[in-house]
């Protein structure tokens, strides 16, 4: 795990501007302190679950939603609806996601029963510690980002960077094979690497590439160093 999408309102309720800014800042610092990168939709202006925001959430590994007062409807303080939408989108995509809910709001909606972290401006430390523990748990569950060198045992892979070849990896742990997951191909001057978003401890992995209509695949092996692909017959 390396990227956390941080969902929050850029236009908080006027009574809560300072505390929302402080919470957003501190949550961002917690994320970075956990050696993770925050991703936001800030440069996209925000305000709705646009295709660009969906794509960023889907590319991120997890999501933290700050539900803080945004407006008042019927005398009740409400959180911005798009923050809840972004949270729901992450959950629907199977991403680890959690809400930090301001004391003056209630965590409603489809995922109301999901765990959340309460936030009161006077008790920020408790909120941040709970968030740190949540992130640490997610990191452990998702595994560490890993890169392995792609090799083919003396044979040159018919790799063409212009062709957008797909590369996938599969984990094996507890006598179970996981789903095939997408890997990112990354070239350096002397080697080609597959970047894997998360490999839990004790897992084995195998790698698969489609090259010119042929499948090149490795056996399950330790997720370090070089992975040797060989051409497989379908």
């Amino acid at each position: 795990m390396q990227q956390v999408f941080l969902s929050y309102t850029f236009n908080p309720h006027p009574d809560h501007e300072a505390e929302t800014a402080a919470l957003r800042r501190r949550v961002g610092m917690v994320i970075e302190s956990m050696d993770l990168r925050e991703v936001t939709g800030e440069d996209l202006a925000g305000g709705g679950l646009t295709p660009e925001i969906r794509a960023r959430i889907e590319a991120a590994d997890s999501l933290v939603a700050l539900l803080t007062p945004h407006n008042v409807a019927g005398g009740v303080k409400m959180a911005p609806p798009w923050v809840s939408d972004e949270f729901a989108h992450a959950k629907a995509r199977g991403k680890p996601a959690i809400r930090i809910v301001h004391a003056e709001l209630t965590a409603g909606g489809m995922y109301a029963s999901d765990e959340h972290i309460p936030y009161a401006p006077a008790g920020t430390a408790d909120t941040l510690i709970k968030l740190m523990r949540t992130l640490a748990l997610w990191k452990r569950q998702q595994g560490r980002p890993t890169q392995v060198e792609i090799a083919a045992g003396g044979v040159e892979l018919p790799f063409d960077p212009g062709q957008g070849h797909r590369c996938d990896y599969q984990l094996f742990a507890d006598f179970k094979e996981g789903d095939w997951l997408p890997a990112t191909i990354w070239r350096e001057p002397g080697a080609m690497y597959a970047f894997l978003k998360g490999v839990p401890d004790q897992s084995k992995l195998r790698l698969r590439m489609m090259l010119n209509g042929a499948i090149w695949q490795s056996d399950f092996q330790n997720p370090i160093g070089r992975v040797h692909l060989s051409k497989r017959t379908p």
Binding site: Q3, G28, E149, F159, P161, T184, R187, P189, G190
Partner: protein, 258 residues
């Protein structure tokens, strides 16, 4: 001493080159060389190669995906040694369109062309901007001032999601001409610290905009590898500092407060 490194390179495509490195120098001088240790990019296996074949002028052949900086440690028969530096240059053959990368290329190779170069519009200088989440607002101001100078700002937060962050950030740093770090806290983000260390390793001109109470030594950077300025410079002073930074040659080491 006339020894230097020379290269041959052939495009083997797609986006792959075969190359040979060897020593060049006067015959008598080459005769005095006992061994050359080639120090390649760490992605090569092996990345440290000893060659003692005088007949090939200590040639090393290989292949790879892009340009890189290398070193040759030359051991003379006298026991004396010297180190040479070289940037391997790889060109696309004429009429070859560089393929779209599957990730950022290791190092962009210059396209070879017989056409005359376009009219003299220098490419924009690239400024890498490093900051923690607590400095987002100030980073936006630095970006605005840098762009007012015509600079292109490289911000790792704008990397395509899903890329391997550390490698993509390192690539971005290599492409930059200068680096600005925003240091408002004595306990900076680990990402900021790593980016500053990389900038120093790559010998990029580095300016730290620091808070009044913040000591840059918390980053552990060697002295003389960066300059500093107050984080709260006004726009005019910030523009002047950035202009000076962007005009600094890559390997110049700075040591004074701006």
């Amino acid at each position: 001493m006339t020894l230097r490194i020379e290269q041959e390179a052939q495009y083997a495509g797609p986006d792959y080159w075969r190359w040979t490195l060897r020593l060049r120098g006067q015959q008598a001088e080459l005769d005095r060389v006992a061994k050359v240790t080639w120090l390649l990019h760490e992605s090569f296996s092996p990345s440290v190669v000893d060659v003692d074949d005088r007949t090939t002028r200590f040639a090393l052949s290989g292949g790879g995906w892009g340009s890189f900086e290398l070193r040759a440690r030359v051991l003379m028969r006298s026991g004396r040694s010297m180190q040479l530096e070289y940037e391997l240059e790889l060109l696309y053959p004429e009429a070859t369109t560089p393929p779209a990368p599957t990730g950022p290329p290791a190092r962009a190779a210059a396209a070879q062309s017989s056409d005359p170069p376009p009219a003299a519009t220098p490419p924009p200088r690239k400024l890498f901007l490093s900051y923690g989440t607590e400095d987002r607002a100030r980073a936006a101001e630095v970006r605005r001032c840098a762009e007012s100078l015509g600079a292109q700002v490289l911000d790792p937060r704008q990397l395509e999601a899903g890329l391997p962050w550390q490698r993509a950030t390192a690539q971005m740093l290599r492409e930059s001409d200068a680096v600005v770090g925003l240091l408002s806290s004595d306990f900076p983000s680990p990402w900021l610290a790593e980016e500053m260390a990389q900038a120093v390793k790559l010998r990029k001109p580095l300016l730290l905009l620091r808070g009044a109470q913040v000591e840059p030594r918390t980053l552990g950077l060697p002295s003389g590898t960066y300059s500093t300025a107050a984080a709260d410079l006004d726009d005019a002073a910030l523009v002047a500092a950035l202009r000076g930074l962007l005009q600094t040659p890559g390997s110049a080491l700075l040591g004074n407060d701006a």
